[in-house]
């Protein structure tokens, strides 16, 4: 098996050009919103609005300005599937369409998926959506076909400022840690979002300079199965109580019940 590969997205060098969005659509031949006839969102320069079944890369824009413009920051971040080591989508997928590849990436095989949509609800990052064209759930494949042929994923190859970096995950993590300390030395509070402590590590992780929520990311993503056992336990408890109630109600009439068995018989003989 190949080494684990992934994305390291350094948001501090992102210029929000959206080359990643287009390069992704070009390589994966994904359609545009309403054939391109989209509407202005009014939310900074973000008009594609979300990650979904046809937007596998999405650049977020966050404007942070004080009235006097003394504090002036425009955060940009190219969002994508996190390719979690502990992947919620993969966990719930009932068809085995979602697999962990030899590159330790998470891929939805659209020839297997039957569109049950459980993965959409299971993803902690709101990454997956239905591609109307195929009727199946879709998301970033980390350019599985390109990886198998030794090519860089389309978005990472296109990214002009190396905000999106692709490579062996261990190498990327070292690079990110180095970058964090550099930035800290310069007085910028930077940190890595998606280290090994998060869902066993996100194979697409980020360098951020503000709280995860600011970028629309969950501070503490969980697996859908986090309380599966508890749910069944409580469910069993609930059922037992109901069952006992029933048993109680029906027990009293035991004799009539025995008698009744015959009456029914007779009744039906008439």
């Amino acid at each position: 098996m190949a080494a684990a590969m992934g994305f390291y997205t350094d948001t501090t060098v992102c210029i929000g050009c959206k080359a990643c969005e287009v390069a992704c659509k070009e390589w994966n031949q994904l359609p545009a919103t309403n054939g391109g006839a989209n509407t202005l969102s009014g939310n900074s320069y973000d008009n594609t609005r979300e990650l979904n079944g046809t937007h596998w890369r999405h650049v977020k824009f966050v404007e942070q300005f004080s009235p006097d413009r003394k504090q002036a920051q425009w955060l940009m971040m190219s969002d994508v599937c996190k390719h979690c080591v502990q992947a919620g989508c993969l966990e719930v997928c009932p068809t085995g369409a979602i697999i962990r590849t030899e590159f330790d990436t998470v891929v939805i095989q659209s020839d297997v998926c039957n569109g049950c949509r459980d993965c959409i609800a299971a993803c902690p990052f709101d990454v997956i959506g239905i591609n109307e064209a195929t009727g199946t759930a879709q998301k970033c494949t980390l350019c599985y076909d390109r990886l198998q042929n030794g090519l860089t994923p389309a978005c990472a190859q296109a990214c002009p400022t190396a905000s999106i970096q692709f490579g062996p995950i261990q190498e990327l993590r070292q690079r990110a840690d180095g970058r964090v300390s550099t930035l800290k030395a310069q007085g910028t509070q930077a940190y890595v979002y998606g280290d090994e402590k998060m869902l066993g590590g996100l194979n697409s992780f980020y360098l951020l300079v503000d709280r995860p929520e600011v970028y629309g990311l969950p501070p503490d993503p969980q697996l859908p199965s986090r309380s599966l056992g508890l749910s069944w336990l409580l469910s069993a408890g609930g059922a037992v109580v109901a069952g006992l109630a029933g048993a109680l109600a029906f027990r009293k009439q035991r004799m009539d019940g025995a008698a009744e068995a015959t009456t029914v018989g007779e009744g039906s003989e008439r």
Binding site: A19, I98, Q148, A158, W232
Partner: protein
Amino acid sequence: MAVSRRQFLKVTGVTTAGTAMGALAALGADLGPKVARAQELRIRNAKVYPTVCPYCAVGCGMLTHVVDGRIVNIEGNPESPVNQGNLCPKGAASYQLAVNPNRISQVLYRAPGATAWEPKPLDWAMDRIAELFKKTRDETLVEKTQDGKLVNHTLGIFSLGGATMDNEWNYSHSKLMRSMGVVAIENQARI
């Protein structure tokens, strides 16, 4: 097999601690075995032609992938010292500039005062344009100014455009225009 192991764990998880699953995940048990599924690369058998981005003037190198005479992909050329494979959103969309249902592939002609286009053969249009060019040029050519200066030019014809076209075109087009006495030759480069 991993799955059965997990099933077992799962059952105990269910029957014991309620959050066993979460705990299990936290312990880092992988929830799917690594599998390799061979993927089809759509440019595997394509012919590759080096080209240059048609948008801004940075001059990013690009690669055109062609299958059966049809362009199937255009992406950044990793070899280019200008962009090393990078592209901006426009460059990345170059493929769609070529392969686009809205692209017009026939000659359209609008007769004076007409309210609609009519398709015409390319040769007919070329002949007609040459004819009009000659007619207007011959009608408007000035050999000498009032004060007797030799000019041999026409100000009745104006050629606009060039900053998006090849050097070879800019050179040959201005050469043709000037040989016809056309001096009003312009493009986007007014600096």
